[in-house]
Amino acid sequence: GLEETLCTMRLRENIGDPSRADVYTQQAGHISALNSHKLPILYWLQLSAEKGHLHRNAIMVPHYNLNCHSVVYAIRGSARIQVVSDDGQTVFDEELREGQLVVVPQNFAVVKRAENEEFEWVSFKTNDNAMVNPLAGRTSVMRALPDEVIANAYQVSREDAKRLKYSRRETTVFSSNESGGSFSERRAEA
Protein backbone atom coordinates (compact mmCIF):
# COMPACT_ATOMS: atom_id res chain seq x y z
CA GLY A 1 0.00 0.00 0.00
CA LEU A 2 2.96 2.35 0.19
CA GLU A 3 2.63 3.41 -3.42
CA GLU A 4 -0.93 4.53 -2.70
CA THR A 5 -0.07 6.46 0.42
CA LEU A 6 3.51 7.51 1.02
CA CYS A 7 4.59 7.55 -2.58
CA THR A 8 1.74 9.69 -3.76
CA MET A 9 1.78 12.01 -0.82
CA ARG A 10 1.74 15.66 -1.73
CA LEU A 11 5.00 17.32 -0.79
CA ARG A 12 4.49 20.80 -2.15
CA GLU A 13 2.12 23.69 -1.58
CA ASN A 14 2.49 27.30 -2.63
CA ILE A 15 2.09 30.03 -0.03
CA GLY A 16 3.68 32.83 -2.01
CA ASP A 17 0.63 33.64 -4.11
CA PRO A 18 -1.26 36.55 -2.49
CA SER A 19 -4.49 35.52 -4.16
CA ARG A 20 -4.54 32.49 -1.86
CA ALA A 21 -3.89 34.44 1.31
CA ASP A 22 -5.67 33.48 4.52
CA VAL A 23 -5.61 37.02 5.86
CA TYR A 24 -5.75 39.95 3.48
CA THR A 25 -6.14 43.67 3.89
CA GLN A 26 -5.80 46.05 1.02
CA GLN A 27 -3.98 48.66 3.07
CA ALA A 28 -1.79 46.56 5.31
CA GLY A 29 -0.80 43.27 3.67
CA HIS A 30 -1.53 39.60 3.77
CA ILE A 31 -0.59 36.35 5.46
CA SER A 32 -0.76 32.74 4.29
CA ALA A 33 -0.43 29.80 6.61
CA LEU A 34 0.50 26.27 5.65
CA ASN A 35 -0.36 23.60 8.20
CA SER A 36 -1.04 19.90 8.17
CA HIS A 37 -4.66 20.47 7.18
CA LYS A 38 -3.48 21.88 3.88
CA LEU A 39 -0.42 19.69 3.46
CA PRO A 40 -0.86 16.44 5.40
CA ILE A 41 2.80 15.41 5.40
CA LEU A 42 3.41 18.23 7.86
CA TYR A 43 1.64 16.12 10.45
CA TRP A 44 4.55 13.70 10.27
CA LEU A 45 7.14 16.44 10.35
CA GLN A 46 5.39 18.36 13.13
CA LEU A 47 6.24 21.54 11.28
CA SER A 48 4.34 24.30 9.51
CA ALA A 49 5.05 27.59 7.79
CA GLU A 50 3.64 31.05 7.36
CA LYS A 51 4.33 33.61 4.67
CA GLY A 52 3.63 37.25 5.41
CA HIS A 53 3.72 40.52 3.57
CA LEU A 54 3.35 43.89 5.26
CA HIS A 55 2.99 47.13 3.35
CA ARG A 56 5.00 50.14 4.39
CA ASN A 57 4.17 51.23 7.98
CA ALA A 58 1.83 48.29 8.44
CA ILE A 59 1.79 46.32 11.66
CA MET A 60 1.14 42.73 12.53
CA VAL A 61 -0.63 42.87 15.89
CA PRO A 62 1.18 41.78 19.06
CA HIS A 63 0.65 38.05 19.41
CA TYR A 64 2.21 34.86 20.72
CA ASN A 65 2.55 31.33 19.41
CA LEU A 66 0.72 28.96 21.74
CA ASN A 67 2.28 25.67 20.77
CA CYS A 68 5.50 26.22 18.89
CA HIS A 69 8.63 28.19 18.33
CA SER A 70 8.80 30.36 15.25
CA VAL A 71 11.80 31.15 13.09
CA VAL A 72 11.19 34.39 11.21
CA TYR A 73 13.28 34.84 8.09
CA ALA A 74 13.17 38.18 6.25
CA ILE A 75 12.72 37.61 2.55
CA ARG A 76 12.50 41.20 1.43
CA GLY A 77 12.60 44.63 3.01
CA SER A 78 12.95 45.22 6.71
CA ALA A 79 10.80 45.49 9.80
CA ARG A 80 11.19 46.53 13.37
CA ILE A 81 10.46 43.55 15.54
CA GLN A 82 10.02 43.44 19.29
CA VAL A 83 9.96 40.18 21.25
CA VAL A 84 9.01 40.02 24.92
CA SER A 85 9.72 37.22 27.38
CA ASP A 86 7.61 35.88 30.23
CA ASP A 87 8.94 38.46 32.70
CA GLY A 88 8.05 41.36 30.44
CA GLN A 89 11.60 41.86 29.28
CA THR A 90 12.32 43.01 25.75
CA VAL A 91 14.61 40.28 24.44
CA PHE A 92 14.71 41.58 20.88
CA ASP A 93 14.08 45.07 19.64
CA GLU A 94 15.79 45.51 16.33
CA GLU A 95 15.33 45.88 12.65
CA LEU A 96 15.21 42.55 10.88
CA ARG A 97 16.63 42.97 7.41
CA GLU A 98 16.53 40.88 4.27
CA GLY A 99 18.48 37.66 4.70
CA GLN A 100 18.39 37.76 8.52
CA LEU A 101 16.36 35.58 10.83
CA VAL A 102 15.25 35.63 14.42
CA VAL A 103 13.93 32.83 16.61
CA VAL A 104 10.79 33.66 18.56
CA PRO A 105 10.37 31.13 21.39
CA GLN A 106 7.01 29.60 22.23
CA ASN A 107 4.69 31.93 24.16
CA PHE A 108 6.98 34.94 23.78
CA ALA A 109 4.99 37.94 22.58
CA VAL A 110 6.03 39.54 19.30
CA VAL A 111 5.07 42.52 17.18
CA LYS A 112 6.27 43.35 13.67
CA ARG A 113 6.15 46.67 11.93
CA ALA A 114 7.30 47.34 8.38
CA GLU A 115 9.20 50.60 8.46
CA ASN A 116 10.01 52.50 5.30
CA GLU A 117 9.53 49.73 2.83
CA GLU A 118 7.47 46.63 2.35
CA PHE A 119 8.39 43.64 4.44
CA GLU A 120 8.08 40.02 3.42
CA TRP A 121 8.92 37.12 5.64
CA VAL A 122 8.52 33.41 6.03
CA SER A 123 8.10 31.82 9.45
CA PHE A 124 8.92 28.20 10.11
CA LYS A 125 6.92 26.88 13.03
CA THR A 126 7.71 23.84 15.12
CA ASN A 127 4.20 22.45 15.23
CA ASP A 128 2.14 21.12 12.34
CA ASN A 129 -0.90 23.01 13.53
CA ALA A 130 0.63 26.19 14.87
CA MET A 131 -1.75 28.39 16.83
CA VAL A 132 -1.41 32.10 17.37
CA ASN A 133 -3.14 34.18 20.01
CA PRO A 134 -3.35 37.90 19.16
CA LEU A 135 -3.15 40.37 22.04
CA ALA A 136 -4.95 43.14 20.18
CA GLY A 137 -7.69 43.28 17.57
CA ARG A 138 -10.98 41.63 16.82
CA THR A 139 -9.97 38.07 17.73
CA SER A 140 -7.67 38.97 20.59
CA VAL A 141 -7.25 38.03 24.20
CA MET A 142 -8.55 41.45 25.14
CA ARG A 143 -11.87 40.87 23.37
CA ALA A 144 -12.33 37.63 25.27
CA LEU A 145 -12.07 39.25 28.68
CA PRO A 146 -14.99 40.90 30.47
CA ASP A 147 -14.49 44.66 30.51
CA GLU A 148 -14.56 44.66 34.32
CA VAL A 149 -11.64 42.28 34.37
CA ILE A 150 -9.76 44.64 32.05
CA ALA A 151 -10.73 47.66 34.16
CA ASN A 152 -9.51 46.03 37.38
CA ALA A 153 -6.42 44.47 35.86
CA TYR A 154 -5.10 47.67 34.29
CA GLN A 155 -6.74 50.08 36.74
CA VAL A 156 -8.63 51.91 34.02
CA SER A 157 -12.23 53.07 33.71
CA ARG A 158 -14.82 50.85 32.04
CA GLU A 159 -14.88 53.29 29.17
CA ASP A 160 -11.14 52.85 28.66
CA ALA A 161 -11.57 49.10 29.06
CA LYS A 162 -14.09 49.15 26.22
CA ARG A 163 -11.68 51.17 24.11
CA LEU A 164 -8.96 48.61 24.71
CA LYS A 165 -11.38 45.88 23.68
CA TYR A 166 -13.01 47.39 20.66
CA SER A 167 -10.99 50.21 19.14
CA ARG A 168 -8.90 47.96 16.93
CA ARG A 169 -11.26 46.05 14.70
CA GLU A 170 -8.85 44.36 12.32
CA THR A 171 -7.71 40.88 13.25
CA THR A 172 -4.10 40.35 12.28
CA VAL A 173 -2.55 43.12 10.22
CA PHE A 174 -3.43 46.77 9.93
CA SER A 175 -2.03 49.97 8.55
CA SER A 176 -0.85 52.43 11.16
CA ASN A 177 -1.96 55.32 8.94
CA GLU A 178 -5.57 54.28 9.32
CA SER A 179 -7.83 55.58 12.00
CA GLY A 180 -8.67 51.96 12.72
CA GLY A 181 -12.36 52.55 12.26
CA SER A 182 -12.73 50.84 8.94
CA PHE A 183 -13.10 47.14 8.69
CA SER A 184 -11.16 46.41 5.59
CA GLU A 185 -10.02 42.92 6.18
CA ARG A 186 -11.29 40.37 3.73
CA ARG A 187 -10.18 37.35 1.89
CA ALA A 188 -8.36 37.82 -1.35
CA GLU A 189 -10.24 36.98 -4.46
CA ALA A 190 -8.60 34.48 -6.68
Binding site: G88, Q106, N107, P146
Partner: protein
Protein backbone atom coordinates in the same frame (compact mmCIF):
# COMPACT_ATOMS: atom_id res chain seq x y z
CA UNK B 1 8.51 15.59 21.51
CA UNK B 2 10.69 18.48 20.60
CA UNK B 3 12.20 19.52 23.87
CA UNK B 4 10.28 18.44 26.90
CA UNK B 5 10.49 14.71 26.44
CA UNK B 6 14.10 14.78 25.32
CA UNK B 7 15.04 17.02 28.21
CA UNK B 8 13.40 14.67 30.66
CA UNK B 9 15.23 11.78 29.03
CA UNK B 10 18.57 13.53 29.35
CA UNK B 11 17.86 14.35 33.00
CA UNK B 12 17.34 10.71 33.70
CA UNK B 13 20.56 9.83 31.89
CA UNK B 14 22.38 12.31 34.08
CA UNK B 15 21.10 10.54 37.14
CA UNK B 16 18.66 13.24 38.22
CA UNK B 17 16.14 10.56 39.07
CA UNK B 18 18.47 8.45 41.15
CA UNK B 19 16.74 9.49 44.32
CA UNK B 20 17.50 7.49 47.41
CA UNK B 21 15.25 9.46 49.68
CA UNK B 22 11.95 11.23 49.25
CA UNK B 23 10.78 14.11 51.40
CA UNK B 24 7.44 15.64 52.27
CA UNK B 25 7.81 19.25 51.22
CA UNK B 26 6.15 22.47 52.22
CA UNK B 27 6.04 25.40 49.81
CA UNK B 28 9.36 27.23 49.75
CA UNK B 29 8.27 30.50 48.20
CA UNK B 30 5.45 32.80 49.21
CA UNK B 31 4.26 35.92 47.45
CA UNK B 32 1.81 38.12 49.28
CA UNK B 33 -0.67 39.75 46.92
CA UNK B 34 -3.30 42.39 47.52
CA UNK B 35 -6.06 39.78 47.78
CA UNK B 36 -4.33 36.50 48.33
CA UNK B 37 -1.15 34.51 48.43
CA UNK B 38 0.80 32.55 45.83
CA UNK B 39 2.96 29.76 47.22
CA UNK B 40 5.25 27.51 45.24
CA UNK B 41 7.51 24.57 45.79
CA UNK B 42 11.09 24.89 44.60
CA UNK B 43 11.01 23.59 41.01
CA UNK B 44 14.75 22.91 41.22
CA UNK B 45 14.26 20.26 43.90
CA UNK B 46 15.41 16.89 42.59
CA UNK B 47 11.99 15.32 43.06
CA UNK B 48 10.37 17.86 40.80
CA UNK B 49 13.28 17.79 38.36
CA UNK B 50 12.93 14.04 38.09
CA UNK B 51 9.20 14.15 37.60
CA UNK B 52 9.41 17.12 35.26
CA UNK B 53 6.76 19.07 37.11
CA UNK B 54 6.26 22.18 39.19
CA UNK B 55 3.57 22.86 41.77
CA UNK B 56 2.00 26.09 42.91
CA UNK B 57 -0.77 26.90 45.39
CA UNK B 58 -3.06 29.91 45.20
CA UNK B 59 -5.05 31.24 48.11
CA UNK B 60 -7.56 33.74 46.81
CA UNK B 61 -9.52 35.89 49.22
CA UNK B 62 -13.18 36.78 48.61
CA UNK B 63 -13.41 39.43 45.87
CA UNK B 64 -9.90 38.48 44.78
CA UNK B 65 -9.19 38.47 41.05
CA UNK B 66 -6.27 36.46 39.71
CA UNK B 67 -5.07 38.50 36.76
CA UNK B 68 -5.01 36.88 33.30
CA UNK B 69 -1.93 34.80 32.55
CA UNK B 70 -0.85 31.68 30.69
CA UNK B 71 1.89 29.11 31.19
CA UNK B 72 4.42 27.27 29.05
CA UNK B 73 2.95 23.90 29.97
CA UNK B 74 -0.39 22.21 30.47
CA UNK B 75 -1.73 22.51 33.98
CA UNK B 76 -4.11 20.62 36.19
CA UNK B 77 -5.68 22.39 39.14
CA UNK B 78 -7.53 20.90 42.09
CA UNK B 79 -9.86 23.12 44.08
CA UNK B 80 -9.17 22.24 47.68
CA UNK B 81 -11.58 24.76 49.08
CA UNK B 82 -13.94 27.50 48.01
CA UNK B 83 -15.74 28.31 44.82
CA UNK B 84 -15.49 30.96 42.15
CA UNK B 85 -15.42 31.87 38.50
CA UNK B 86 -12.95 30.74 35.88
CA UNK B 87 -12.48 32.60 32.61
CA UNK B 88 -10.39 31.18 29.81
CA UNK B 89 -9.20 32.76 26.59
CA UNK B 90 -9.06 30.26 23.77
CA UNK B 91 -7.90 31.71 20.46
CA UNK B 92 -10.52 31.61 17.76
CA UNK B 93 -13.43 31.07 20.13
CA UNK B 94 -16.25 33.62 19.96
CA UNK B 95 -17.45 35.90 22.74
CA UNK B 96 -20.57 33.90 23.50
CA UNK B 97 -21.44 35.54 26.80
CA UNK B 98 -23.29 38.73 25.92
CA UNK B 99 -25.14 41.08 28.15
CA UNK B 100 -27.50 42.72 25.67
CA UNK B 101 -28.51 43.02 22.07
CA UNK B 102 -25.70 44.61 20.17
CA UNK B 103 -24.29 45.38 16.77
CA UNK B 104 -22.17 42.88 14.90
CA UNK B 105 -18.95 44.64 15.73
CA UNK B 106 -19.69 45.85 19.22
CA UNK B 107 -19.67 49.51 20.17
CA UNK B 108 -18.59 52.09 17.67
CA UNK B 109 -15.40 53.97 18.32
CA UNK B 110 -14.28 56.89 16.25
CA UNK B 111 -10.82 58.25 15.69
CA UNK B 112 -8.83 58.41 18.91
CA UNK B 113 -11.07 55.83 20.50
CA UNK B 114 -14.02 58.15 21.17
CA UNK B 115 -17.20 56.20 21.64
CA UNK B 116 -19.98 57.10 19.26
CA UNK B 117 -23.65 57.16 20.07
CA UNK B 118 -26.33 54.91 18.66
CA UNK B 119 -25.61 51.23 18.96
CA UNK B 120 -22.67 51.81 21.27
CA UNK B 121 -24.98 53.17 23.94
CA UNK B 122 -27.05 49.99 23.97
CA UNK B 123 -23.97 47.85 24.17
CA UNK B 124 -22.84 46.52 27.51
CA UNK B 125 -20.33 43.67 27.37
CA UNK B 126 -19.42 40.43 25.69
CA UNK B 127 -16.65 37.98 26.36
CA UNK B 128 -15.70 34.35 26.04
CA UNK B 129 -17.44 31.73 28.11
CA UNK B 130 -16.78 31.68 31.81
CA UNK B 131 -17.59 28.86 34.17
CA UNK B 132 -18.10 28.26 37.83
CA UNK B 133 -15.98 25.91 39.87
CA UNK B 134 -16.29 24.61 43.38
CA UNK B 135 -14.48 22.54 45.95
CA UNK B 136 -13.41 19.19 44.58
CA UNK B 137 -13.25 20.29 40.96
CA UNK B 138 -10.30 19.51 38.73
CA UNK B 139 -9.57 22.10 36.08
CA UNK B 140 -7.45 21.23 33.05
CA UNK B 141 -5.88 23.96 30.96
CA UNK B 142 -3.80 23.56 27.82
CA UNK B 143 -0.51 25.32 27.22
CA UNK B 144 -0.82 28.96 26.27
CA UNK B 145 -4.52 29.30 27.08
CA UNK B 146 -4.89 32.42 29.21
CA UNK B 147 -7.00 32.20 32.34
CA UNK B 148 -8.34 34.43 35.06
CA UNK B 149 -10.08 33.49 38.29
CA UNK B 150 -12.38 35.44 40.57
CA UNK B 151 -13.51 34.52 44.05
CA UNK B 152 -17.16 35.50 44.34
CA UNK B 153 -17.70 33.37 47.42
CA UNK B 154 -17.41 34.32 51.04
CA UNK B 155 -14.42 32.17 51.95
CA UNK B 156 -10.96 31.85 50.46
CA UNK B 157 -10.29 29.65 47.48
CA UNK B 158 -7.38 27.26 47.88
CA UNK B 159 -6.23 25.81 44.59
CA UNK B 160 -3.26 23.52 43.97
CA UNK B 161 -1.88 23.45 40.44
CA UNK B 162 0.49 21.04 38.81
CA UNK B 163 2.45 22.31 35.83
CA UNK B 164 3.67 19.51 33.60
CA UNK B 165 6.78 21.25 32.27
CA UNK B 166 8.17 18.21 30.46
CA UNK B 167 4.92 17.70 28.61
CA UNK B 168 5.35 17.60 24.86
CA UNK B 169 3.26 20.73 24.58
CA UNK B 170 6.09 22.70 26.18
CA UNK B 171 8.80 23.40 23.66
CA UNK B 172 10.68 25.79 25.92
CA UNK B 173 13.04 24.65 28.65
CA UNK B 174 11.81 22.93 31.80
CA UNK B 175 11.60 26.12 33.81
CA UNK B 176 7.96 26.72 34.74
CA UNK B 177 7.05 30.10 33.27
CA UNK B 178 3.97 32.17 33.73
CA UNK B 179 3.29 34.89 31.19
CA UNK B 180 1.25 37.66 32.77
CA UNK B 181 -1.05 39.66 30.55
CA UNK B 182 -1.62 42.29 33.22
CA UNK B 183 -0.32 43.52 36.53
CA UNK B 184 3.19 43.70 37.78
CA UNK B 185 3.61 40.38 39.54
CA UNK B 186 6.63 38.62 40.95
CA UNK B 187 7.68 35.35 39.35
CA UNK B 188 6.01 32.71 41.46
CA UNK B 189 8.78 30.18 40.81
CA UNK B 190 11.71 32.36 41.78
CA UNK B 191 13.00 31.04 45.05
CA UNK B 192 13.94 33.52 47.74
CA UNK B 193 14.38 36.28 45.22
CA UNK B 194 16.81 34.17 43.19
CA UNK B 195 16.50 34.18 39.43
CA UNK B 196 15.86 30.89 37.75
CA UNK B 197 18.92 29.09 36.51
CA UNK B 198 20.29 30.46 33.29
CA UNK B 199 18.16 33.57 33.31
CA UNK B 200 19.50 37.02 33.00
CA UNK B 201 19.05 39.44 35.86
CA UNK B 202 16.06 41.72 35.53
CA UNK B 203 17.03 44.42 33.16
CA UNK B 204 14.34 46.95 32.58
CA UNK B 205 14.39 48.27 29.09
CA UNK B 206 14.32 51.84 28.10
CA UNK B 207 10.95 53.01 27.03
CA UNK B 208 10.18 55.38 24.22
CA UNK B 209 12.27 58.52 24.04
CA UNK B 210 14.94 56.72 26.02
CA UNK B 211 13.27 57.20 29.39
CA UNK B 212 13.91 54.66 32.09
CA UNK B 213 10.75 52.76 32.88
CA UNK B 214 9.58 51.74 36.28
CA UNK B 215 9.22 48.17 37.53
CA UNK B 216 7.11 46.26 35.09
CA UNK B 217 6.67 42.53 34.50
CA UNK B 218 3.74 41.76 32.24
CA UNK B 219 4.10 40.92 28.56
CA UNK B 220 3.01 44.38 27.42
CA UNK B 221 5.94 45.93 29.30
CA UNK B 222 8.42 44.80 26.69
CA UNK B 223 6.67 46.64 23.88
CA UNK B 224 7.14 50.25 23.01
CA UNK B 225 4.01 52.04 24.28
CA UNK B 226 3.66 53.70 20.89
CA UNK B 227 3.35 50.27 19.27
CA UNK B 228 0.68 49.38 21.80
CA UNK B 229 -1.19 52.62 21.19
CA UNK B 230 -1.26 51.84 17.48
CA UNK B 231 -2.10 48.19 17.95
CA UNK B 232 -5.05 48.95 20.23
CA UNK B 233 -5.91 52.19 18.46
CA UNK B 234 -5.95 54.08 21.75
CA UNK B 235 -4.10 57.10 23.06
CA UNK B 236 -0.59 56.75 24.48
CA UNK B 237 -1.71 57.19 28.07
CA UNK B 238 -4.21 54.33 27.85
CA UNK B 239 -1.59 52.18 26.15
CA UNK B 240 0.83 52.84 29.01
CA UNK B 241 -1.78 51.61 31.47
CA UNK B 242 -1.43 48.16 29.89
CA UNK B 243 2.09 48.05 31.29
CA UNK B 244 0.97 48.47 34.91
CA UNK B 245 4.21 50.17 35.90
CA UNK B 246 4.81 50.35 39.64
CA UNK B 247 1.63 48.40 40.34
CA UNK B 248 2.39 46.66 43.65
CA UNK B 249 -0.76 44.57 43.96
CA UNK B 250 0.93 41.44 42.53
CA UNK B 251 -1.24 39.08 40.55
CA UNK B 252 -4.22 38.65 42.88
CA UNK B 253 -6.01 41.97 43.15
CA UNK B 254 -9.06 43.05 45.12
CA UNK B 255 -12.16 44.08 43.21
CA UNK B 256 -14.03 46.70 45.17
CA UNK B 257 -17.76 46.17 45.04
CA UNK B 258 -17.48 42.79 43.36
CA UNK B 259 -16.81 41.83 39.76
CA UNK B 260 -19.71 42.34 37.40
CA UNK B 261 -19.45 39.95 34.48
CA UNK B 262 -21.95 38.37 32.15
CA UNK B 263 -22.82 34.94 33.50
CA UNK B 264 -25.74 32.64 33.97
CA UNK B 265 -27.42 32.82 37.38
CA UNK B 266 -25.87 30.65 40.02
CA UNK B 267 -29.16 28.96 40.71
CA UNK B 268 -32.14 28.87 38.40
CA UNK B 269 -35.62 27.69 39.31
CA UNK B 270 -34.39 26.26 42.57
CA UNK B 271 -31.65 24.23 40.94
CA UNK B 272 -28.35 24.50 42.76
CA UNK B 273 -25.07 22.69 42.57
CA UNK B 274 -26.38 19.70 44.46
CA UNK B 275 -29.26 19.14 42.09
CA UNK B 276 -26.97 19.56 39.12
CA UNK B 277 -24.64 17.06 40.67
CA UNK B 278 -27.47 14.61 41.05
CA UNK B 279 -28.40 14.98 37.41
CA UNK B 280 -24.79 14.41 36.38
CA UNK B 281 -24.52 11.39 38.63
CA UNK B 282 -27.53 9.77 37.05
CA UNK B 283 -26.42 10.41 33.52
CA UNK B 284 -28.37 13.55 32.87
CA UNK B 285 -25.28 15.52 32.02
CA UNK B 286 -24.67 19.13 32.76
CA UNK B 287 -26.09 20.45 29.51
CA UNK B 288 -29.23 18.39 29.12
CA UNK B 289 -31.71 21.14 29.91
CA UNK B 290 -32.75 23.34 27.02
Amino acid sequence: QRYGASQQHSLREQGECRIDRLDALEPTNRIQCEAGVVESWDPNHEMFQCAGIAVVRHIIEPNGLVLPSFTNSPQLTYIVEGNGILGTVIPGCPETFQSSQQSQFGPQFGQGGQMRGGEGQRFQDQHQKISRFRQGDVIALPTGVAQWVYNDGNRPIIAVTLLDVTNNENQLDINPRRFFLAGNPQDEHEQGGQQRQGRRPQQRQLGEEGQQRGQCNNVFCGFDARFLAEAFNVDLETARRLQNENDNRNNIVRVEGGLQVVRPPREHGGRGWEEERERERYGGGRYDVN
